[in-house]
């Protein structure tokens, strides 16, 4: 059964049960990926997945249920399950469905069409050749992938909201293994973009160099040093701690930023922006998961917390307007709050000047284990790191297998300089995170 027919079946089932307020959220993803190993296609996947989530209001409470099976029977079961689930909820405030907005920003999707299978295979093969050509230290174990995905989202509700979104993106992944004859080390790069615009030799050179640096790396010495985070590392930190900017977490006592709007929470050099239409964002999206128009806003402006991120429910609880940040962690998930493209705005100094300001310290370009070593509620983190030593204002020898420890809330105040070039290296689902190089004082390095 196609979605439109399924929708009609749900509408009929809802009417039969006397459910008057409901919304269908439909998401489907078609993805193709190619993996190349030893200059041969090792794995090819053409996947279709996705489903429909129904939420409905019963006695002021919002019940959810979702299904991937689209049939008459599934439609009836969906309404029954969502209504049953609503019945045991103990929601504090009545929940409402979205009405939508007047102005939805137009955006340019990366591509309209899925790339041809041949183009994906050629890209993965070329990327692999480029990796082996980049450095003689690159050896067996190296794999490259090319992938493409077309995502469709549709929201339709009993308030008359009827929105659709479609976006196609493609990407290449280079995973280089390097050896010095005895040890092996690796690194990888994921780059989104139309396949014919990807500079494979440059990506290969960068990935091979990173794998080789990892090979030569020594353990960093224990101590307190100025730390420079690369755009990649800073984006990882921002992504991990982005839930602290959620009004939902603040209202539930899970963010220490509760009640801090209008207060200075960061160094004056810190401006944090959520811009769903940021140029280069792989997933610009015109509406949030409640159908409210997405728009750009400063979360932190020159160190002051201007606003948390809101959806309709948390905005109503706070007596204000939504910021258009309703989000779902999966199509079947409950509506929560998330940024779209969250990035730290560029500062005034160049990347080299930033290293000179640091003088001697540690440059961190890789962080690991953020799901475990970073406590989003307390802000404490202790994270596996790799990068370079900074000596006399310059990157010198590579270092690895050390930790950097601190607290995210304090770190916002410990930022002493921000470089002028933003990169957007991290994307999870429809959310992307970006940052320039950042200099932070007062963190602890544990190594040897």
């Amino acid at each position: 059964m196609e979605f439109q027919a399924f929708k009609q079946a749900v509408i009929a089932a809802a009417a039969a049960r006397g459910v008057a307020e409901y919304e269908l959220y439909y998401q489907t993803a078609e993805s193709t990926s190619v993996e190349v190993f030893r200059d041969q296609v090792n794995d090819f996947t053409a996947a279709v997945d996705g489903g429909v989530c129904l939420r409905c209001v019963v006695n002021g409470k919002m019940g959810y249920a979702s299904t991937e099976e689209l049939s008459e029977a599934a439609a009836q079961a969906l309404v029954r399950r969502a209504a049953d689930n609503a019945a045991v909820l103990e929601a504090d405030t009545p929940e409402v469905l979205g009405q939508g907005g007047k102005d939805y920003e137009a955006f340019a999707p990366q591509a309209d069409e899925m790339p041809a299978t041949d183009a994906l295979i050629r890209t993965a093969l070329d990327a692999q050749k480029a990796l082996y050509a980049a450095d003689p230290a690159v050896v067996d174990g190296t794999v490259t992938d090319a992938l493409a995905q077309r995502l469709k989202i549709a929201i339709s509700n009993s308030n008359g909201l009827d929105l659709e979104y479609e976006n196609t993106l493609s990407a290449v992944m280079l995973h280089a293994v390097a050896t010095d004859g005895t040890e092996k080390a690796d690194d990888f790069t994921l780059k989104t973009g139309a396949l014919d615009t990807l500079d494979l030799p440059a990506l290969a050179a960068q990935t091979a160099a990173a794998a080789k640096a990892r090979l030569e790396a020594d353990v960093a010495p224990t101590g307190a040093y100025p730390v420079v985070f690369s755009p990649e590392a800073m984006s990882e930190l921002l992504g991990t701690y982005s839930p602290v900017f959620s009004s939902e977490n603040a209202q539930k006592g899970l963010s220490l930023l509760a009640g801090k709007e209008g207060e200075a929470i960061a160094a004056p050099s810190v401006t944090l922006v959520d811009d769903p239409f940021y140029p280069g964002s792989p997933m610009p999206i015109p509406f949030d998961a409640e159908g409210s128009p997405a728009h750009c806003k400063n979360v932190i402006e020159n160190g002051t917390l201007k606003t948390l991120l809101y959806n309709l429910k948390t905005a109503a609880a706070a007596g204000r307007e939504t910021t258009g940040n309703a989000a779902k962690s999966g199509y079947g998930a409950k509506i929560s709050v998330s940024p779209f493209t969250l990035y730290l705005a560029p500062g005034g100094c160049t990347e080299d000047e930033l290293l000179q300001k640091a003088g001697s310290g540690v440059y961190i370009n890789s962080l690991g284990g953020l799901h475990a070593g970073a406590n989003v509620i307390s802000g404490d983190f202790s994270l596996q790191s790799a990068g370079f030593m900074i000596e006399n204002g310059k990157k010198t020898r590579a270092v690895k297998s050390f930790t950097v420890a601190g607290n995210f809330y304090q770190l916002l105040k410990q930022i002493t300089a921000v470089a002028d070039t933003v990169k957007l290296p991290r994307a999870t689902g429809i959310t992307s995170f970006g940052a320039p190089r950042v200099l932070v004082e007062g963190l602890t390095i544990a190594g040897k």
């Binding site: 092996k184 509620i377 297998s401 601190g406």
Partner: protein, 459 residues
């Protein structure tokens, strides 16, 4: 589910362009979780995952296509897509399926979907309010009761036609405590390959109290110091050290491609002679157990390391082709939408002979990591990290004040050699393990162990 005859037609279509192996995997999964926060039932996630995947191999090439349309026409279209992607050739397989019944080593007495929401809410509230009422410094509690009913069907060109139904139950309570303006967290998350009868042996109140206890202890703790020191790691979820430092590097996913620190080391001493490590998918009722893996191979008890010597890897069929060895019953996938690969089940360091008290007493100055959080590893280099959720300083052989914010980092091959004392109180803890084939339930486990030297990331 899908009949044998339909499977035969789908597999024939899949193999029509010269595949030497064809497989159909279909699933229908009900995921149901009740979530509480701020003393209220806040939401229910209720999802049906239903779809199928067709895989074909030709030599060392694998192709997979997936679909949410599990009608015969939908499956045939999916099979055709896979066959086309494999290339041009003529059918080389004749397909006749025979139903196989592997039996169920995990009988379920109370199927979660047969129990009303109201009864489940009552269970969750027992755990939730036990945490809430534990101490006045508890500021927030969140709780989840999860039920998964995962039905799978696997048919392959080798004649296999088999089904399995995997039911899992888990309660997760997290608590936030505040002392002097500082907040800390604690959690307890037991899960079993069982129905709701799980709570006949696990008291929900104990789950809540344990989460709250950790949060309260840690809220009063100072920061963990940084440096290299001996560490005693507690039993249960402490076994995450083996999971990260070694387990992932023994999966064919990395070994078959030469991207493992332990590739080519069979028969060699890779760990301290005190270490014997096992992956056992057959433990009745255990969180990581399966009757059959996601390629239809029965689960096995695999001794990975015996007295420090590497015995075997964990292998799925496709990577086994590259390695020239059979599957070890470790092929797993989150759902039909993921290509299965070799993964862990219930993985643990077996009991040793050291007295637990002696392990603590042997440390002049170090860390006692009583409760661990999650971690991650780079299987190529073996560099791993994991978080200490509840740690204490050991001074002169005695457990002293609690410390917060620590993580442990190191290299698998080094740390395995440094496990120089192994206690006798082996227990398992439950986790969700993420890798290329998605997020799957796994047990980690060990008795209390001593690592003679490891980098502690504190401040």
């Amino acid at each position: 589910m899908i009949s044998k005859e339909v499977c035969e037609r789908v597999l024939s279509k899949a193999a029509s362009t010269g595949a030497d192996y064809a497989e159909l995997f279909a699933e229908n999964t009900l995921n149901h979780s009740i979530n509480m926060i701020a003393d209220r039932v806040d939401s229910i996630n209720d999802t049906v995952i239903a779809g199928a995947a067709v895989r074909v191999y030709k030599g060392l090439r694998s192709v997979m296509a997936t679909t949410v349309d599990t009608t015969e026409q939908g499956l045939l279209r999916c099979a055709e897509k896979a066959a086309e992607a494999l290339g041009q050739g003529t059918a080389a397989l004749s397909i006749t399926l025979h139903e196989r019944l592997f039996g169920d080593i995990h009988p379920i007495r109370v199927v979660p979907s047969s129990v009303s929401n109201a009864e489940k809410v009552a269970l969750l509230k027992e755990g939730y309010f036990a945490a809430r009422e534990y101490d006045e410094c508890i500021r927030q509690v969140s709780g989840t009761l999860l039920g998964v009913d995962h039905r799978i069907l696997i048919a392959s060109s080798e004649g296999l036609y088999a089904q399995d139904r995997q039911i899992r139950t888990r309660m997760m309570i997290s608590a936030v405590a505040e002392k002097n303006g500082e907040t800390q967290t604690g959690g307890c998350r037991p899960g079993r390959r069982m129905g709701l009868e799980m709570f006949e042996t696990i008291d929900p109140k104990e789950v809540g109290r344990e989460a709250a206890r950790q949060a309260v202890v840690m809220a009063g703790a100072g920061y963990c110091p940084a440096g290299v020191m001996p560490v005693a790691i507690g039993n249960g979820f402490g076994g995450v050290i083996f999971h990260e430092a070694c387990g992932h590097s023994l999966e064919a996913t990395s070994v078959a491609y030469g991207r493992s620190q332990f590739a080519g080391k069979l028969g060699q001493q890779i760990a301290n002679p005190k270490v014997t490590a096992i992956d056992d998918g057959t433990v009745p009722g255990a969180w990581g157990s399966i009757n059959i893996d996601d390629e239809g191979t029965p689960a096995q008890k695999n001794v990975l390391i015996k007295d420090g010597i590497l015995q075997m890897y964990m292998v799925d069929q496709f990577n086994g082709r590259r390695m020239g060895v059979p599957s070890t019953g470790n092929a797993r996938r989150q759902s039909y939408a993921y290509t299965p690969t070799s993964r862990m089940t219930n993985t643990y360091i077996a009991n040793g002979t050291d007295n637990n008290d002696d392990i603590i007493a042997s440390i002049e100055y170090g860390l006692y990591a009583r409760e661990m959080g999650g971690g991650s590893v780079n299987p190529t280099t073996g560099e791993f990290n994991f978080a200490v959720n509840e740690g204490y300083i050991i001074r002169n052989g005695k457990v002293c004040e609690p410390v917060r914010g620590a993580s442990l980092v190191g290299k698998g091959s080094d740390v395995l050699m440094n496990i120089d004392m192994v206690g006798t109180n082996m227990e398992c803890g439950q986790g969700m393990c993420g890798s290329s084939s998605g997020s799957i339930p796994t047990n980690v486990g060990q008795p209390l162990i001593r690592v003679s030297s490891i980098t502690v990331g504190g401040r």
